[in-house]
Point group: C2
């Protein structure tokens, strides 16, 4: 028997997380998660990034299931795109299924997609794979990892996890199941690496509850809490404290309202009706009787907190005495925007609490000591760090070696690099071509790096267009029309544009080079002139009529 | 006597630091520092930001001196611009003076500028002000704060400081002087707020030395250390350890080489000649015998570390076994770029150490307990938090109130807001117009927000230009010429551009509205067409010939 188990992490930028994993044996494939990534700062104008599904396109018939670990965007956000390409049922816990349903209701997904619910602890037979979801703690309820028994052995995929003994939903991770896997013998552990550079143990969600309790007791006026729209457990904590301290709760921001509604319907949010009010009513209540949960914890300008910070919210404005809480870490790359938003809120008179000055958020991911515990609980033959930038994967590998896993039994690979396992060895195959797909407006995959690089250049120095009329002798007729955007202040650049027009006329006069077209010769001359005058290099395009 | 002492913090974005302070009494003015700020991520294409000097322009004759606290860019970087506008001597300690000289050698500063050196502990009589520089510890040697005796009382400006008992240059801060000021009675304390949201006490530079010692002892091959070009003390630490462990030191990156040369000349860097080698020689030595100090700790693509990360350095390439150290914190907004650079270096086989995984850098600014010590040592009547974002200033004010300073004796103001002090009260005046000035290429102040906003839009969706030829009846002749940049992939957009041309012709056909020009009517129609087809809104400009 020469067939090996193939594991293909897909869907990142190499360095940013692993949002999708393909498990393949013979002609059966399982997919774990299908998430989006957020663009890096140099991916100008790109809305989101999705995994490149090319690897799966000629294997569609083999795909037996899409298993989902939990309902965060970086794990379910690409499902609408994936499910346009493949036909397979989605397996998820009830809350995750609810979040997926909210997501798939988007107009893009017109096909009927089968969603099969399971509970942590179930045993699912899917083709030749036996899939055993086990409960883990994270920053959203109803999260699982998967034990998957394959023909070559048992592999364990942690999903996103931390070992929180006192999670917000009082449902600690399933240590017993991990130990039981270990007793059966685990071939490979695929484990979350997000916090591999954080020493110690991630604080429990309980810490946040304590900080919130202080806050609710002492806040002199309204409390406005920004967090992720999917952070159901934080909404529950706020609701419990609202009840305790005699406040009413308003939830604002479309995505958070939808998620809360679904979570209440499914029983994952336990909030009595009388406690919840509309924002319009909240602004009329005494300030000491109000809590508002809002989106915009990443400083997104169009989310609730971004609009409040700029004084652009329709129903609500920040006032002296308000206490605003950022109950989220800035996602890397968002720090500046988040802190700017915080400064703007201070400027409007709010007192602003954020993670640096009060424990109003904790990470949902395991730190180093928890990662070691996971490895020692599961005792895998092979360790495959997933879900992290390369620096995290490398660090996770160091931890694995410290615990006695041989270096050649640890695979630090980036997305798109297939691994093959038999019972004894782990092979790293050459990286697949492609990588990830840009989504920009209605376009999925049509925009690539050349367009983004043009945007980069436009963003640095703008663009100058010139329309030059010539006669049949290629002499310039009249004054060239020059238009610039993002280059100079139009009201202060008369001299510059006058000089530019002269440079164009001169370039046409000396034009004698039949190997390049007249418009290119003029573009060269115009670019040189503009650089000499301003020290900047706008995109220059010349049309000769 | 009605004259009050006026203090004007100048030169930030409101929220980003205070890079310049004006002290004014009657017709005498002192300026403290003149630094640059780095642009925020939405200030596209802007190179640096300098303070707006407008306030000073009609008071040039009153300016008696520019006092400089230390040689970092955010304190001296705007001097070349300031000294073009005013005539006054610059006062600085020898190392700071050396760094200013390096800076002023830029071609922009053609005038002869007088630089007067002083030592911490000197007493300078400047007009009616008695200026007493006192030594503070920070992340560059030869730093001072200033005690300034004015007609209304003694004010103390800390500069950037921390209370490091074991600084790299073994010169601890001058506690005695601060206590002595206190015994004389301090009217106002202007104090560094950078780390106001950090609890505790900033670790000493000694911690870094210990971490570096471990690193030098254990690194299996070359050591490459990235830090700020001005971090003289880190260069000294690396040199000392190079000597201890039998390595040679190469310094690379233009700005770091210039600074190191000047600091050695002035005696602030004590490195024997035989220890220093050129990079060209370093690459030929056994790897265990080499340390390289380099620029690029912020992930700047054109600095040494950025080029190494992308494999684009002329003389040096990263190899398996190299240990790379980022001995700097990412400046807020740079996190993503720094971490991307770190990932790239890992990908090339280096082991990379950074602050998260080893104490290879410490902040140069006081944390909360040090800030409290400063307040209690100086015991000022008024507290004016400076040098920080608004969130830091607010937090600093909280600390001041906790120590018993009355709320009305603390002024949290943003740049451009003048304060007036007599012996008894502190008034906050209305904010000055203006704020800060963009420098972009050779242009200083000509580029404002309208241009930057155009760049923002260009960066999101690019630009579409169309040239439409019409006859005298305003009918379109021939096919409109359409050019796009940063909008669509030109090879995959034939259908779209064909449709766009049709939309233009249709718009011209139905054009009947003499209140707006034909080109605007076409722009509207073209924008609508493109949005309907792509969901994106490029800048659209139409020229009708």
């Amino acid at each position: 028997m020469t067939t090996k188990l193939r594991i293909v992490p897909l869907g990142g930028l190499g360095e940013i997380g692993k949002n999708m994993t393909v498990i393949e044996y013979d002609d059966e494939i399982l997919i774990i998660d299908a998430g989006i990534m957020f663009p890096e700062s140099d991916m100008l104008g790109i809305d989101i990034i999705i995994p490149d599904f090319t690897y799966l396109l000629d294997k569609k018939d083999k795909i037996k299931a899409v298993l989902v670990t939990h309902g965060h965007e970086d794990h379910i956000g690409a499902l609408p795109h994936l499910m346009e390409q493949i036909h397979a049922p989605i397996y998820a816990t009830p809350l995750t299924a609810g979040l997926i349903e909210v997501k798939l209701r988007q107009p893009r997904s017109s096909q009927a997609i089968e969603i099969i619910e399971f509970q942590a602890g179930d045993v699912l037979q899917i083709g030749l794979f036996t899939v055993e979801p086990f409960h883990v703690a994270h920053s959203i309820p109803d999260c699982v990892g998967f034990g998957i028994t394959t023909p070559v052995g048992l592999i364990v995929h942690t999903g996103d996890y931390k070992f929180d003994h006192t999670p917000a939903d009082s449902w600690p991770p399933d240590f017993a199941k991990l130990a039981e896997f270990s007793s059966r013998g685990v071939l490979a552990l695929l484990a979350d690496s997000t916090n591999a550079d954080r020493a110690g143990w991630t604080p429990s969600e309980m810490v946040v509850l304590d900080a919130f309790d202080d806050l609710f007791r002492e806040a002199p006026g309204r409390i406005i809490i920004a967090t992720f729209a999917s952070l159901i457990s934080r909404i529950q904590q706020a609701a419990d404290l609202a009840q305790k301290y005699g406040r009413k709760l308003a939830i604002t921001g479309r995505s958070m309202r939808e998620n809360a509604k679904m979570a209440r319907r499914l029983g994952y949010l336990d909030i009595p009706d009388y406690l919840i009010i509309e924002l319009e009513d909240a602004v009329r209540l005494p300030k000491k009787e109000v809590v508002i949960m809002a989106t915009g914890s990443q400083g997104e300008p169009s989310a609730v907190m971004g609009r409040l910070a700029r004084g652009r919210h329709r129903n609500l404005s920040i006032e002296e005495g308000d206490t605003v809480v950022f109950s989220a870490y800035p996602i890397p790359g968002n720090e500046e925007t988040v802190f700017r938003t915080i400064n703007q809120l201070f400027r409007r008179g709010a007192n602003v609490l954020y993670e640096r000055i009060a424990p109003v958020h904790v990470s949902g991911h395991a730190s180093q000591e928890e990662m070691k515990l996971m490895i020692n609980l599961v005792r895998p033959t092979f360790l495959i760090p997933i879900h992290g930038e390369l620096r995290h994967l490398k660090r996770h590998a160091v931890l694995g070696r410290e615990l006695g896993i041989a270096a050649e039994h640890i695979a630090v690979v980036e997305n798109g690099t297939p691994l093959e396992l038999d019972g004894e060895s782990l092979d790293i195959l050459p990286r697949l071509p492609g990588g990830y797909v840009f989504v920009d407006g209605a376009s999925v995959g049509e925009i690539g790096w050349p367009v983004v690089r043009d945007r980069e250049r436009l963003s640095q120095s703008g663009v100058v267009f010139a329309v030059v009329a010539t006669n049949s002798q290629k002499q310039v007729i009249g004054r060239p029309e020059i238009i610039s955007r993002g280059f100079v202040n139009p009201n202060e650049s008369d001299d510059l544009l006058h000089g530019a027009a002269e440079a164009i006329v001169r370039a046409a006069e000396v034009y004698a080079n039949s190997t390049s077209p007249l418009n290119e010769a003029i573009e060269d001359a115009l670019s040189r002139y503009l650089y000499a005058e301003t020290g900047r290099r706008p995109l220059v395009h010349v049309v000769v009529k």
